[in-house]
């Protein structure tokens, strides 16, 4: 039984098939990359998995159970955390309060929640900024905060939506380290990323889509050499 399975997932906005019959499965413990040019439907797939959007047809199975009709907060409680490409910090709360609020997902007392939040902030290397307001963080910090908040809900699977976008090279290395550290702590990772340095160096398997449809799947090497992928990114003459 796959850990997460998408079965011919379809999402239609008016006349636009944003996601068209995409199927893939993620195994427990792996880092699974999802790539595609801008507007190919990656974030839409995330929004379908955690039910920000209702699915038009198809199904999403988490540990064998269909989650397509569950509300977003229940999906979080089942063990799927996510980050947002366009970061959504709880601006007028401190970093610690942001993470504490999400730690309440698993515990009920403020003491336990703060303890968990402090642990996660240390894990994400954010403990030095924990008393700053979330809106005062630079983009690198906000991306980390997204991850910290998702981690505080103790997910088994985490959906990372372009957590490396907009980072400088040294921050990029730290982000890669953090993602590997997450995998080593036993969390399965489904990641959307544009930066090839990140996606190629950490993914176990990659699924490529364009115009909402699957064009390739395989190891990073196989996908990088795939004609359809090169064509989607660079155009026909390079393929």
């Amino acid at each position: 039984m796959p850990f997460l399975e998408l079965k011919s997932l379809m999402k239609v906005f008016g006349g636009l098939k944003a996601v068209n019959e995409v199927s893939f499965h993620v195994e427990k413990g792996e880092i699974f990359g999802l790539i595609g040019p801008n507007g190919s439907g990656k974030t839409t797939i995330f929004n379908c998995i955690n039910h920000f959007y209702p699915i038009t047809s198809g199904d999403v199975l988490f540990k064998g159970q269909s989650i397509r009709n569950l509300p977003t907060h229940k999906i979080c409680h089942l063990g799927i955390g996510r980050t947002f490409q366009v970061v959504k910090p709880l601006a007028r709360m401190t970093v610690l309060e942001n993470v504490t609020a999400s730690a309440f997902c698993r515990v009920n007392t403020i003491r336990e929640a703060q303890k968990e939040a402090n642990r996660v902030l240390e894990f994400c290397n954010l403990d030095k900024s924990k008393d700053k307001l979330a809106k005062s963080l630079p983009i690198g910090g906000r991306k980390r905060l997204e991850i910290a908040r998702a981690l505080a809900t103790k997910p088994e699977l985490i959906l990372l939506d372009e957590t490396a976008a907009g980072l400088n090279p040294s921050e990029l290395d730290e982000a890669i380290e953090l993602i590997k550290k997450m995998r080593d702590s036993g969390i399965t990772i489904l990641i959307v990323e544009h930066i090839m340095k990140v996606i190629m160096s950490i993914s176990d398997r990659i699924h490529a889509i364009n115009f909402g449809q699957t064009i390739a799947e395989g190891s990073p090497k196989e996908v990088a050499d795939n004609h359809a992928v090169i064509e989607a990114y660079l155009g026909e003459e390079y393929a």
Binding site: F52, T72, H73, C76, L90, R92, A113
Partner: protein, 320 residues
């Protein structure tokens, strides 16, 4: 932390001794009304300030509390004091329905829905004469001649209200309320059932507004739909108390209540009889100017921008 405790202690002692020192019925009345507004303002602040769901219709919960107390007397022939117990819960029942309808909407649409809700209830209360006696209103006999019992009852209610909200805001619920205010989508993705917790906030808020309404019935001994369901005098005033005092601060509505009742009374009485009479007509204008001033120069209210006010008033350059 220490200076805050001192302020709290002094406030406590002053408020306990106030009616014993100042025996004037008039000033006791003003403080009783201000304390009632502390409850309504705090209740509005929990929903609008902390949870971000701005209500333009808090008069509905206040009025329902008041009418619960009144109808207990006129229809069931029991003491209106039972209203203090039941006014809150009845307002909560009603809030369940309001939440079910209005929380399908977000932001300004929610605010408009509550505005409509408040007006609907006012019209229902005006026209459902068999239950409410319509515009005739409900008149009861006051239990006490002296203002002292009323003073201590409303003081206890106000203190309990602030304390409960303080506790709520330090708990899981409080974190959830603020998360919802900051970003509802992010909150939902963090496992927060936003619909449920918005309703929790609304229910607590309605409870306190309803309790304040029941107290009003007992104290004033007369209500009619235009008073207790009033858009200007209740719903808008609740917003002013919150904004002037300080949105999303525990003590803000308490400070705001005293400022607003003070300003209102100063103008209503034409500066206690010193100024020409026409001044008393200007109080709505002054409220408007006050709100513009607060929004432009101290958007966080008196409590929220206290550091800034101190800086300006004492002309010190300490940065905070």
């Amino acid at each position: 932390m220490k200076s805050r405790n001192i302020v709290l202690m002094v406030t406590g002692i002053v408020s306990l001794l106030f009616p014993l020192v100042i025996s004037s019925d008039y000033y006791q009345h003003l403080v009783i009304i201000a304390l009632m507004w502390v409850i309504i303002g705090s209740s509005w602040n929990l929903l609008a300030g902390y949870t971000g769901q701005v209500s333009f219709g808090h008069a509905m919960f206040f009025g329902i509390g008041a009418y619960t107390a009144g109808i207990l007397v006129t229809k069931l022939q029991v003491s209106a004091w039972w209203g203090i117990l039941f006014g809150g819960p009845v307002a909560m029942l009603f809030a369940l329905f309001v939440g079910w309808v209005c929380f399908r909407l977000r932001g300004p649409y929610f605010a408009l829905a509550t505005l409509a809700g408040g007006e609907i209830i006012r019209l229902v209360a005006t026209n459902w004469e068999s239950l409410t006696d319509g515009m005739v209103g409900i008149l009861i006999i006051q239990s006490f001649k002296s203002k002292l019992p009323y003073y201590y009852i409303v003081l206890a209610l106000a203190a309990a209200c602030i304390y409960v909200i303080h506790l709520v805001m330090k708990s899981k619920w409080g974190y959830y309320f603020v998360s919802i205010r900051e970003d509802q989508d992010a909150a939902e993705s963090l496992g927060i059932n936003t619909t449920l917790y918005k309703n929790v906030s609304l229910l607590i808020s309605a409870f306190f507004a309803g309790t304040a309404g029941a107290f009003y019935m007992n104290y004033m001994a007369f209500i009619d739909p235009h008073v207790v369901f009033s858009l200007h005098y209740i719903s808008i005033m609740a917003i002013l108390v919150g904004i002037v005092g300080g949105v999303a601060t525990t003590m803000g509505p308490a400070v705001g209540a005293f400022i607003m009742v003070g300003v209102q009374e100063t103008f209503r009485s034409a500066f206690f009889g010193i100024a020409p009479k026409w001044i008393s007509q200007a109080h709505a204008l002054v409220f408007g100017l006050l709100v513009i001033f607060v929004i432009m120069f101290m958007a966080n209210g008196v409590v929220g921008d206290w550091a800034k006010i101190k800086r300006v008033v004492f002309r010190t350059k300490t940065s905070t």
